[in-house]
């Protein structure tokens, strides 16, 4: 029943999940309010992805490597493109292994892992074969970080997808994250204005008027 309902809704882009882990409001500003989308993605759409975006299939070390693979999950109403998926032959069939390219280095929050895990959930639904792990490749450290898709990460990913779904349905932009350090590092801070959120403007307006009329 759910899938029928979802079919009529716009699917959630896989890339929105990482924004949602970082800050649900950031995800809403980018994906619902379409704020500064071009600039944001320009900064983000790095040279790395330009390479991955070429697409195509190659074979190395016994694995099929597929670049820019379209993915979707009807159950979670997700859609997107994986940078790279490697397929390894096993007696049970080909096991997929998603690899996501990231600028910078591994982070303290789990945004990148959630995005990768969401790709795994899509692959499992599409191929019918379990995806036990994948990897994040960080440009700055030039290392692959192996990410096992354990129950905790799967539960977190499903939770974030559900939260994001609710925000998309409500079409309402939620409050800023309570992690102040994330605001400081956020490229959308000027458009988000977290410090003004829920500030009582009417009271401020009255105070300003008292000030303007009182200093004479």
């Amino acid at each position: 029943m759910n899938s029928v309902l979802h079919a009529e809704e716009d699917p959630i882009p896989l890339s929105a999940l990482q924004h949602a882990v970082y800050c649900l409001r950031q995800a809403a500003l980018i994906h619902i309010e379409k704020l500064w989308a071009e600039n944001h993605f320009t900064a983000e759409g790095d040279v790395l992805h330009a390479v991955a975006d070429k697409g195509g299939t190659r074979k190395t070390r016994g694995a099929r490597r597929v670049l820019s693979l379209p993915l979707a999950s009807r159950r979670l109403n997700l859609t997107g493109v994986a940078d790279l998926v490697e397929f390894y032959p096993t007696p049970q069939g080909e096991v997929s292994y998603p690899v996501e390219y990231k600028r910078g280095k591994p982070k303290l929050h789990r945004a990148d892992e959630v995005q990768l895990c969401a790709q795994a959930l899509c692959l499992e639904e599409m191929t019918g074969i379990a995806v036990p792990e994948g990897a994040l490749f960080y440009a700055q450290t030039k290392r692959r970080v192996v990410v096992p898709f354990d129950d905790t990460l799967r539960a977190l990913t499903e939770h974030v997808a559900a939260e994001l779904s609710a925000v998309f349905d409500a079409r309402k932009t939620p409050a800023p994250t309570t992690h102040k350090s994330r605001c400081r590092a956020c490229s959308l801070i000027e458009l988000c204005r977290p410090e003004t959120f829920a500030r009582p403007v009417r009271k401020w307006r009255d105070r300003m008027l008292d000030l303007v009329l009182g200093t004479e």
């Binding site: 204005r193 003004t196 009582p200 401020w204 303007v212």
Partner: protein
């Protein structure tokens, strides 16, 4: 802080604007006169017969640089704009709010009257002692009555029409004493009353021209914030009228345009000779006068002030954009009202 991008004003008749690589280039009689990188540009305003190449139009549309075409007198003719920005949810919220706009209008009217009054108060503070007694008394009286109107606007549970009435009442008081703010001995620069379309004296011509520039900036600010410039709150919808841009402008007219007009005249940078008198009685700025005003306007936009609500420094030129953003955040439900920009 968001970068204050430049506006290129082209006033030389027969100029040709074209794209050269990532630059806008202005040619006059086949010789290059100016070159500006496109990434530094927010908009282009062309006065009178100026050629603009299709390649430049395309590049501007793609980068969100708006091109406004004015006639020789500085009246708006047309505007070339890229795809609509922003999202439909914000616009829907704007349209919905327009049907129940009392509190937004209250903010706008409060900001406008407070800032007009601030212009009067500043004049009294700066040279009140040098004034003739009747003039000073009249200014003080106007400021007091405007204070009373402000309190009424703040406290009364008014309809939009009554708020509009208060705005008009304050404007009459303000323009009623505006002449006392002019310190130039030039008889031709004296003020009588507001006239427009066409302006009938020099000061009105000067104000009208500055308002045109401000409207252009406010309209761009609406577009950038994803708002529909045609759907206003204080200004009623009228086809072809940028009502929301005019709304945003109300708070800024006195401190940005009126104050600048007074400075230009009081410092004698603009004199009676900078105006052209038409046979119909209409008065327009001369080409030379217009250049002086445009230079001063560009400088004015770079001046920094503390934003009263955001509590951070911002150049005047970004204030329309910040106010449009605050309005958008209010419409999206972030804050309980639209915070006016008080000039302090």
């Amino acid at each position: 802080m968001k970068k204050l991008l430049n506006t290129v004003y082209v006033t030389t008749e027969g100029s040709a604007l074209k794209k050269d690589g990532e630059n806008l280039v202005a040619d006059v009689d086949g010789a290059e006169r100016a070159r500006v990188p496109l990434h530094m540009l927010a908009s282009v305003v062309a006065f009178g017969p100026i050629l603009i190449s299709p390649a430049l139009i395309g590049a501007c549309a793609e980068r969100g640089i708006t091109i406004s075409l004015m006639d020789r007198a500085g009246r708006f003719q047309a505007r070339i704009e890229g795809p609509v920005t922003g999202n439909v949810l914000l616009r829907r919220a704007q349209y919905k709010a327009a049907d129940q706009a009392e509190d937004i209008v209250r903010s706008i009217v409060m900001g406008k009257i407070a800032n007009q009054r601030a212009v009067i108060r500043r004049a009294l503070r700066d040279y009140g002692t040098e004034m003739e007694v009747p003039a000073r008394t009249e200014l003080e009286h106007a400021a007091d009555r405007m204070a009373a109107i402000l309190r009424r606007v703040q406290l009364a549970d008014d309809t939009i029409d009554r708020l509009r009435g208060s705005e008009g009442e304050a404007a009459n008081l303000y323009f009623g004493v505006f002449d006392h703010l002019i310190r130039s001995p030039d008889a031709e620069l004296r003020w009588t009353c507001r006239s427009r379309r066409p302006p009938l004296d020099a000061m009105n011509a000067l104000l009208s021209f500055l308002y045109t520039l401000l409207t252009h900036d406010c309209r761009s600010a609406c577009e950038t914030a994803g708002l529909d410039p045609a759907v206003g709150f204080l200004h009623r919808d009228r086809p072809g009228r940028p009502s929301l841009a005019l709304d945003l402008m109300e708070e800024l007219r006195a401190p940005l345009a009126d104050r600048l007009a007074l400075s230009l005249v009081n410092r004698r940078q603009i004199r009676a000779g900078d105006f052209r008198h038409m046979d119909s009685g209409a008065v327009l700025l001369s080409d030379e006068g217009r250049r002086t005003v445009l230079t001063a306007w560009q400088e004015r936009k770079k001046e920094e002030r503390q934003h009263p609500f955001l509590q951070e420094k911002a150049p005047f030129g970004l204030v329309p954009w910040l106010q449009a953003q605050m309005l958008a955040r209010h419409l999206r439900g972030d804050i309980d009202a639209y915070p006016p920009w008080f000039w302090t």
